[in-house]
C-alpha cells in the first residue's frame, strides 16, 4: 500500500518536474532570475533594499503588478493592435501601480511613506514591461500568470537577498528584530546607496561562481 503511494508520488513529482507549467514558473526563480541573471529593474533593487521589510513590500507590490498586468495583457493579446501595444501595456501597468499604491496605503501609512516615490516608479520597472511584451502578449493566460509569479518570485527573492544582508550589517537587525548584542558596530555604509551596489556585487559574484563551478 505504502510502496504504491510512493510510486504514485514519484510519478507525480516526475510529471510536475517535466511539465511546461513548472518550467515557466521556475525559470524566473533561478535560471532567468530578474535580479541576478537578467539584471532588470535595478532602481528598486538598489534603492529600497535598505531593510528586509522594505524589500519584502516592494517585491510583493511588484509581483502583484506583474501578475495582474500579465494576465490582462494576455487576455487582451488578440484585441490589441500591434501599433498601440506598448501604449496599451503602459496604461495597464500604470493602472495596477495606482491600485497597489492605494492598497499599500491602506495596509500601512508608515510603509507607504518609507517606500515613497518607489511605488509610483514600479511603472517604469522594465521587468514588468518586458514580461508583457516578451511573454504575456504571445502566451495563454495560464502560462502568463505562471511566468509572472515566477519572475515576481525571483524578483522578490533577489530583493530579500539584498535587503536581509544590508539590514543585518547596516542596522544589526532583521525585520526589525535585534540580532546582535548592544556592542555591535553597524556598517552604516550598507544602508546608504553605496551599500546596495556592494551587496549586489557580492551576490552576483557568489551566484556566478556557484554556477561556473557546477558547469566545470
Amino acid at each position: 500500500m505504502s510502496s504504491m503511494s510512493d510510486k504514485e508520488r514519484l510519478g507525480f513529482w516526475e510529471e510536475l518536474k517535466s511539465s511546461p507549467s513548472t518550467n515557466e514558473f521556475l525559470k524566473g526563480i533561478w535560471k532567468d532570475n530578474p535580479v541576478f541573471v537578467q539584471v532588470l529593474g535595478m532602481c528598486p533593487v538598489l534603492a529600497v533594499t535598505n531593510t528586509a521589510e522594505n524589500a519584502l513590500a516592494m517585491g510583493l507590490a511588484t509581483t502583484f503588478v506583474l501578475l495582474m498586468s500579465n494576465v490582462l495583457v494576455s487576455l487582451l493579446r488578440n484585441f490589441i493592435p500591434k501599433q498601440v501595444r506598448i501604449a496599451s501595456y503602459i496604461l495597464i501597468i500604470a493602472s495596477f501601480v495606482t491600485i497597489v499604491d492605494y492598497l499599500i496605503q491602506s495596509v500601512s501609512v508608515e510603509l507607504h511613506k518609507s517606500l515613497g516615490a518607489f511605488i509610483s516608479l514600479i511603472v517604469v520597472n522594465c521587468l514588468i514591461l518586458s514580461r508583457a511584451e516578451a511573454f504575456a502578449s504571445k502566451n495563454t493566460v495560464k502560462y502568463s500568470a505562471l511566468d509572472a509569479l515566477g519572475m515576481g518570485g525571483g524578483f522578490l527573492l533577489g530583493l530579500l537577498c539584498l535587503g536581509a544582508v544590508r539590514e543585518i550589517l547596516g542596522s544589526g537587525t532583521l525585520f526589525s528584530l535585534q540580532l546582535f548584542p548592544s556592542g555591535f558596530q553597524e556598517w552604516i555604509v550598507m544602508i546608504l546607496p553605496a551599500g546596495g551596489f556592494f551587496t549586489l556585487a557580492g551576490w552576483l559574484i557568489l551566484i556566478n561562481y556557484t554556477k561556473e563551478r557546477k558547469l566545470s
Partner: protein, 233 residues
C-alpha cells in the same frame, strides 16, 4: 513562433478601419483601467483616511512633547473656530497637559517641494514663541537626497527652537524665517539647509515661513479663547 513574428511584421495598411480599431481598443482599455482604479479607491478610502488620522495624531504628540489631550481648530479668514464647525482652512491642534493647561499648538502646513507637495506639521510653543519640532506627513522627494528633510538629524536640529516671534501688535513676524546654506546659521530664525537637497530644505523653510506668518498672529490674538480647558470638558 514563426507565426508570431510574421504577425508583428505585417503592419496593416493605414486606413480608417485600422485607426478606428486602435482608438476603440485604447478607449476600452482606458475604461477597464479607470473602473478598476475607481473601485479600489472607493474600497480603500475609509481605511486610508482612518490610518492617516492615526498617523496625524501620532505626529501631533511627537511635535508637542508632554501633552495629554488635543482639540482641533480651523483657521480661516483670520478667525479661529472649532474644527467641527468649519471644515475648510488651516488645521491647528491645541495641546493640553493633564491639568488642562495649554502647552502649545501643532499646525498643519503644506507647500510645493521639489517633486510634489510636501505636507508637514510643526509644534509651536506660544510662551517662548518658537517652533519646537516638525514632522513630515507626506512627501515624494527624491529618495536619498530630498527625503533627508525628514531624516537628517542635523537638519531636524533646526526645529528644536526656531524663533518665530510675532511683533507686539500681532500683525507680522519680527524676523521672517530664512533658509541659509549649511554652516552659515547665525540667528535663531535661520534654518540651515542640507547640502545636496537645497530645494527641498528651502521648501520646508518657505512652508514654515508662509504658514507661521499667516497663522501665528491669529493664534496669538485668540489665545484667550483656547487658553485653558475646563476640567469638565
Amino acid at each position: 513562433m514563426a507565426h508570431d513574428e510574421q504577425n508583428i511584421r505585417s503592419v496593416p495598411e493605414p486606413g480608417s478601419k485600422g485607426n478606428v480599431r486602435m482608438l476603440f481598443v485604447m478607449v476600452a482599455i482606458g475604461l477597464i483601467c479607470a473602473f478598476l482604479i475607481v473601485l479600489t479607491y472607493e474600497q480603500t478610502r475609509p481605511v486610508i483616511e482612518r490610518k492617516q488620522e492615526e498617523a496625524l495624531k501620532k505626529a501631533i504628540f511627537r511635535v508637542l512633547p508632554g501633552i495629554k489631550r488635543t482639540i482641533s481648530f480651523v483657521i480661516a479668514d483670520g478667525q479661529i473656530r472649532p474644527a467641527t464647525d468649519a471644515p475648510d482652512g488651516v488645521r491647528v491642534h491645541a495641546g493640553y497637559d493633564d491639568r488642562g493647561d495649554l502647552m502649545g499648538f501643532a499646525i498643519e502646513a503644506s507647500g510645493q517641494g521639489y517633486a510634489d507637495i510636501i505636507r508637514l506639521i510643526y509644534g509651536y510653543d506660544h510662551r517662548s514663541q518658537k517652533i519646537i519640532g516638525i514632522q513630515v506627513l507626506e512627501t515624494k522627494e527624491t529618495p536619498g537626497l530630498g527625503d533627508r528633510i525628514e531624516k537628517d538629524p542635523a537638519f531636524l536640529e533646526n526645529f528644536r527652537a526656531l524663533d518665530v516671534a510675532v511683533d507686539s501688535a500681532n500683525s507680522k513676524a519680527l524676523h521672517p524665517i530664512e533658509t541659509v546654506k549649511n554652516g552659515k546659521k547665525t540667528e535663531d530664525w535661520q534654518i540651515e539647509g542640507i547640502t545636496g537637497a537645497t530645494i527641498s530644505s528651502r521648501a520646508v523653510g518657505d512652508i514654515l515661513g508662509t504658514s507661521s506668518e499667516s497663522v501665528l498672529p491669529v493664534i496669538r490674538m485668540n489665545i484667550s479663547k483656547v487658553g485653558h480647558l475646563n476640567q469638565e470638558e
